[in-house]
Symmetry: C2
Subunit: 144 residues, 2 copies
DNA sequence: CCCTTATGGATATTGATTGTCCACAACTAT
DNA sequence: ATAGTTGTGGACAATCAATATCCATAAGGG
């Protein structure tokens, strides 16, 4: 946990990216949260400590970390995105009503990937598996 | 094939949706194409027969058919969408370079869906499984 | 064939995300 | 430490696919 944080900071330094308080704040949230926060959500959290924080800075930092391969981005159907401190592909369960996103234990798709590569000729680099439905809370609430 | 087309037209009539040449043209393309066309692509095709065709009409028709459960929409990371005449969830293989999308034989995720529903408490209604990589053609072309 | 009403088409709008710009802060080397 | 360089934060404008809006008109029932 703390080691992962320190490891990423070191990589940033190695790449001659500047270690700024804003970036550290965004990084810490991404590594801590299990809620797959939106840029807006991260923005709100960081703003409490840095009132001048800009939404653009959140996006820039998140994209930087994504480019470094340290986080992943989950683009939703509506065009918005959620960020995930875990950069490795793994299944998600998405509530169609409240947009809550839960992780699920990694499911090995390696053999399936090989099969698809063989049958299609594609060079497969990654995948994405999402399940959609209603979370327990939204199943109880009155429909929409 | 022809029966599916006729079946959908009948359903439209039953629902008191009007059967217009524009809608039929969009529907025919969606049922015929295996290329998972974009709205823009459908627009270009229909425009050859109906020069006054509007992109908005393509979207309206596609959304209508999606609402009827007769087609599906594949939202891509960049915010654009592709449409699929097959409304049932099935894996896709997406080329990260040329954006070509190929179908793959249906892969049963039923037992996995059940397991996820049991462990998360979600009521799972659908899923999406995409593989990303490079198609055979783009593997040969010079990088970017 | 007429009447009612949904639809097509042109256009404006949306909303998440990104680009632009410059003052300023973060690293470097002395 | 300190000054010099250069990448970065923040405000704002711009982007782009997709959707909403509007009204004349065409589709289908009577």
């Amino acid at each position: 946990m703390e080691s992962r944080y320190q490891n990423i900071v070191d990589k940033m330094r190695d790449r001659h990216f500047r270690i700024t308080p804003q970036r550290l704040a965004v990084l810490k949230i991404l590594l801590t949260s299990k809620a797959h926060p939106s840029a807006e959500h991260i923005y709100d959290e960081v703003k409490e400590h840095f009132p001048t924080m800009s939404l653009a800075t959140v996006y820039k930092t998140a994209n930087l970390l994504k480019e470094m391969g340290e986080i992943s981005e989950l683009a939703l159907k509506d065009g918005s995105s959620r960020f995930d401190g875990n950069p490795h592909p793994h299944p998600h369960v998405v509530c169609a009503r409240c947009k809550a996103i839960s992780d699920f234990d990694d499911i090995p798709l390696g053999s399936l990937t090989d099969e698809i590569a063989r049958k299609t000729g594609f060079m497969i680099t990654t995948h994405r598996l999402d399940f959609f439905g209603l979370c327990p809370r939204c199943q109880q609430d009155q429909p929409s």
